[in-house]
């Protein structure tokens, strides 16, 4: 099909989609008047059911915890998939930075960048840890805090060069941390069968709302998700960096 013909078909299709969209979106309730359905019911009951002041956290980790389990394992599978896709193939070799420009060193990062990277890295670790631990109290949670923690590790790559970063990520610690995160989620779920009413039931004592140790299994699941996401994100970035900076055609 020529370019012109393709664009004509595309425009016709998009106009048809626009008509259908307009028809569908006109039936939605007017903006700003959310009807009192399941959301309103759960918002009213979440504090007394789970003693978690963050209603979204109680939905994600208690009422609909099975969805989060699925999302957790999607991330796990994605890390495995990327490690598989971006591995060194048969006709490639993993070089060092010296091989590309022999006799020259990688120029060291300037002192300002070094200092800024280290300072921000420390701050990001604090922010990430705080967000994960307070996920059931204030907006935030395992996923957001986990990516902030991964960002803290990436700051170290910005502050120094890839060799330093690889020294951190080549430790088996990261892979084990990701496995621990995903496994902890599943274990808490199985413990729900033993100690409570079913898989992923909130069986631990609920405590008083607003305290750090409250809401039963919700902070535990937050921690599990935070660990898995942080480790998974760093592993993904490490794969991409290795692919971009190290893996070359075998010449």
């Amino acid at each position: 099909m020529t370019e012109r013909a393709r664009r004509t078909v595309l425009t016709a299709g998009l106009l048809g989609l626009l008509a259908l969209l307009g028809w569908a979106l006109a039936d939605l309730p007017p903006f700003g008047t959310s009807p009192p359905t399941l959301g309103g019911l759960l918002a009213g009951r979440s504090l007394e059911d789970t003693h978690a002041t963050n209603a979204v956290a109680s939905i994600v980790f208690d009422y609909r915890a099975a969805d989060t389990l699925g999302e957790e394992f999607i991330l796990f599978a994605a890390v495995a998939g990327i490690a598989l896709l971006l591995r060194a193939q048969r006709d490639e070799v993993e070089a060092t930075s010296e091989d590309a420009a022999p006799g020259r060193d990688v120029p060291p990062t300037s002192d300002a960048v070094h200092l800024a990277g280290v300072v921000f890295s420390g701050g990001a670790v604090l922010l990430g840890g705080y967000t994960i631990v307070h996920g059931h109290l204030t907006p935030g949670g395992g996923f957001q805090g986990g990516v902030v923690l991964a960002g803290a590790l990436l700051m170290l790559y910005v502050a120094d060069d890839y060799d330093t970063f690889q020294r951190i990520t080549s430790m088996r610690l990261l892979e084990r941390e990701e496995a621990v995160g995903a496994g902890l989620f599943a274990l808490v779920g199985l413990a729900g069968i033993v100690g409570g009413t079913g898989f992923l039931a909130n069986f631990l004592p609920l405590g008083t709302p607003g305290r750090l140790v409250s809401a039963g299994t919700v902070p535990l699941l937050n921690l599990a998700v935070g660990l898995a996401v942080a480790a998974g994100s760093v592993l993904i970035v490490d794969e991409f960096l290795e692919q971009a900076l190290r893996i070359r055609q075998r010449s």
Partner: protein
């Protein structure tokens, strides 16, 4: 409040158009990052702080970083 939400919505629409119209991959990464921040602003105005946090974190750390690494790998840093 309504005016702020309307402005944020228009900014989101403009940022989406900017990402699609921009063909240079490096500038696209910045445009996507801007779209992430503007989306987070919209979510904050619509009283959804947790979603805003997730959007900021994803749109400024994960997506531009991955795009840049893919670009460096593909074009060999020769730009």
């Amino acid at each position: 409040m309504n005016v702020l939400i309307a402005i944020a919505l228009l900014l989101v629409a403009a940022a989406g158009l900017a990402v699609v119209r921009e063909r240079d991959p490096l500038r696209m990464a910045i445009a996507v990052s801007v779209q992430g921040v503007v989306l987070a602003l919209l979510f904050l105005l619509l009283q959804a702080p947790e979603v805003a946090f997730a959007q900021v974190v994803v749109g400024t750390i994960v997506i531009p970083l991955m795009t840049l690494f893919a670009f460096v790998k593909i074009h060999g840093g020769a730009r």
